[in-house]
């Protein structure tokens, strides 16, 4: 690793020369060390998250191995058998349904913000969308539990059961707190992420692409759907992956609206459990080391999944901005 980049060395004033400020001979060295130490500290912090989760879940990892991920039994009371399958299923189902709902809405919002809205409207609408991301998770939970479920989710669930009840995903009795409620709240929570990243992807697309499409006689929508969307496709995928990562780890709001019930049925109308809500509910009540280390292992799984998803998302978004900065693709 080269410790100094070339231009900096060139700018560096002679340490013995006349200086405007009182010179402190070791100032550069000390500030360099401080800055480096802080950076190393941040990197080490991330490494130690993985390390701590790994070592503290050792007992559970040794006891159950990879079966932990595919066993549907969670019995802390009697047999001390732990399998994370129901929670992994609950997390994946709620997050994916949320993504399916939020993706078109987020894209539509991004198109409005980047391609349609007049300049005076962009700032205020963009501001409102960003405020949606700022609302604390626990407030979403309170609102979801007392307002959103009774006046929106429950009637919707009844309607779905009555019209599409023959499908396994909409079967069974209707509960208030349910996977559907969690999915809808998650969709609202990840929508700003999708909208913000997609808006930036749209703005990174060179203007020439738009002008070329319009010059060929495309309508506004044809320009968006046939030129801009294919051009920024990997960026929109990145936005979706990033949002998925957010949804997987979301805790408080989900815990408050999902019902926290072990249930392996495929129905969205049933209450469920996610990895994050399980940790939130049982962590402080975990008695015994095996129980606690099983919960920490679930945290480890969450950590790895979000690590991979974040990496993938950055890669996808980066591909668009790199291409946009270079030549126009023909």
């Amino acid at each position: 690793m080269n410790r100094e980049s070339a231009p900096e060395t060139a700018h560096r004033p002679p340490s013995e020369g006349k200086t405007l400020f009182r010179a402190w001979r070791h100032g550069d060295l000390v500030s360099d060390i401080l800055v480096r130490l802080s950076s190393i500290g941040v990197v080490v912090l991330v490494g130690s998250i993985g390390y701590e989760l790994w070592t503290h879940s050792a007992e559970s990892r040794l006891a159950f191995g990879l079966r932990f991920l595919v066993t549907a039994q969670w019995d802390p009371a009697l047999k001390q058998v732990f399998g994370a399958l129901p929670f992994i299923q609950g997390t994946l189902v709620t997050s994916l349904v949320a993504l399916v709902i939020a993706l078109p809405m987020g894209l539509g919002t991004a198109i409005f913000l980047a391609e349609m809205a007049p300049a005076w409207l962009r700032q205020p609408v963009g501001f409102l969308v960003e405020m949606l991301a700022a609302v604390p998770s626990v407030v979403y939970g309170v609102w979801g539990l007392f307002a959103f479920i009774p006046s929106f989710v429950f009637p919707l669930a009844l309607g779905l059961r009555d019209s599409l009840g023959f499908l396994p995903v909409f079967a069974g009795p209707v509960f208030g707190p349910s996977r559907l409620a969690a999915s809808l709240v998650l969709a609202i929570m990840i929508l700003p992420t999708i909208a913000a990243v997609s808006r930036d992807v749209f703005s990174a697309i060179p203007q020439a692409q738009r002008e070329a499409a319009l010059a060929l006689g495309a309508t506004h929508w044809e320009m968006i759907s046939q030129v801009l969307v294919p051009y920024g496709l990997s960026g929109f995928l990145g936005a979706a992956v990033l949002a998925l990562g957010r949804a997987l780890g979301e805790t408080m709001a989900v815990t408050m609206v999902i019902g926290n019930t072990l249930d392996l049925s495929p129905s969205l109308l049933h209450p469920g459990y996610t990895m994050a809500s399980l940790i939130a509910n049982e962590f402080t009540e975990a008695t015994g080391n095996l129980y606690l280390s099983a919960l920490i292992e679930i945290g480890l799984v969450l950590f790895f999944i979000t690590l991979i998803l974040n990496f993938l998302a950055r890669l996808l978004v980066w591909r668009v901005s790199r291409r946009a900065a270079g030549e126009v693709r023909v």
Partner: protein, 296 residues
């Protein structure tokens, strides 16, 4: 000639269809945007409607009361939130600003890339996982839930936000400013301290405000670090109440007067968070206009 008119004919029919599709899809985008913004307004109106009546002077000055006894407040949660967020800020802000200086000046070195990756990961790690980390790191060795561990975990959560905004602002500082300072004979460290840092001060402030807003709303990692406390406490080595924890425990309680308190506390929290976010955005906008750059 004949073929030409035919295709013109077809073209005209198709043009009408294309225009309809265009209007339909663009209209749909407007509807999507309205639907996206609607929940925010619903939440705001509902929380204000439900929580507004709770907001009295005693709500801010009194301790929580048992079920059925009126006049309870959330002063312990307010103090606890201030204490944990403040501790997190003191721990994270200096490190974050220093790291941002490194990230802005060495973006392509090995450590610079590692730092960028680490910052991305940190902002992506679910806060509940952060809570487990702080639990194994601090709560287990101390053998007790504590305000200290809550503050530290909030500090971890604040790090990436402050690093990012500070770094972005540092990159906006015109290079001529830095070169001018160096040309006048100031050392690198003096330039950083007296020229770059003041120029990027708004970025630091923006990052700090966004970080406070995010940390103040975190409940998940506090469940098993700060833990919550129905009594008044400022001790760092004791469990402490925070605003989000109070909202959570009151909201899932079966008592209607506690639920009402949850609404009141939610109103206080959401106002705090929105005002901080709005102020942070205003600062960025103002600064970016002055520096003539573009910021997200």
């Amino acid at each position: 000639m004949n073929r030409g008119t035919l295709s013109e004919e077809l073209g005209r029919a198709r043009a009408g269809q294309r225009k309809t599709v265009n209007a339909l899809m663009l209209g749909l985008c407007v509807v999507m945007t309205l639907l996206a913004v609607a929940p925010l307004l619903w939440i705001l109106i509902y929380v204000i409607h439900k929580g507004g009546s709770e907001i009295t002077w005693t709500f801010f000055t009194n301790l929580p009361t048992p079920v059925g006894i009126p006049g309870g407040g959330i002063v312990n949660a307010l103090v606890g939130s201030a204490e944990t967020v403040g501790l997190g800020l003191v721990v994270s802000a200096p490190v974050a600003v220093l790291a941002a200086f490194y990230a802005a000046s060495h973006p392509d070195s090995g450590l610079g890339l590692a730092l960028r990756f680490a910052t991305d990961v940190l902002s992506g790690v679910p806060s509940i996982v952060m809570g487990i980390f702080a639990y194994t790191l601090i709560v287990l060795p101390m053998r007790r839930f504590s305000a200290f561990s809550g503050g530290i975990v909030l500090g971890f959560i604040m790090l990436p936000t402050i690093i990012r905004t500070t770094e972005e602002m540092l990159r906006l500082v015109p290079n001529s400013l830095r070169e001018g300072s160096l040309a006048l004979g100031a050392a690198e460290w003096r330039t950083s301290l007296s020229v770059l840092l003041p120029a990027a001060a708004n970025g630091v402030l923006t990052g700090v405000m966004l970080a406070i807003a995010r940390a103040a709303g975190e409940a998940a990692p506090m469940l098993f670090t700060a833990f919550g406390n129905p009594f008044f406490s400022t001790a760092l080595n004791q469990p402490i109440a925070t605003l989000p924890l109070t909202i959570y425990s009151y909201a899932i309680s079966p008592y209607s007067d506690w639920k009402a308190k949850a609404w009141g506390a939610a109103l206080v929290l959401i106002m705090l968070v929105l005002v901080l976010n709005a102020a942070a955005r205003g600062l960025v906008w103002w600064r970016a206009r002055r520096l003539g750059g573009q910021l997200r």
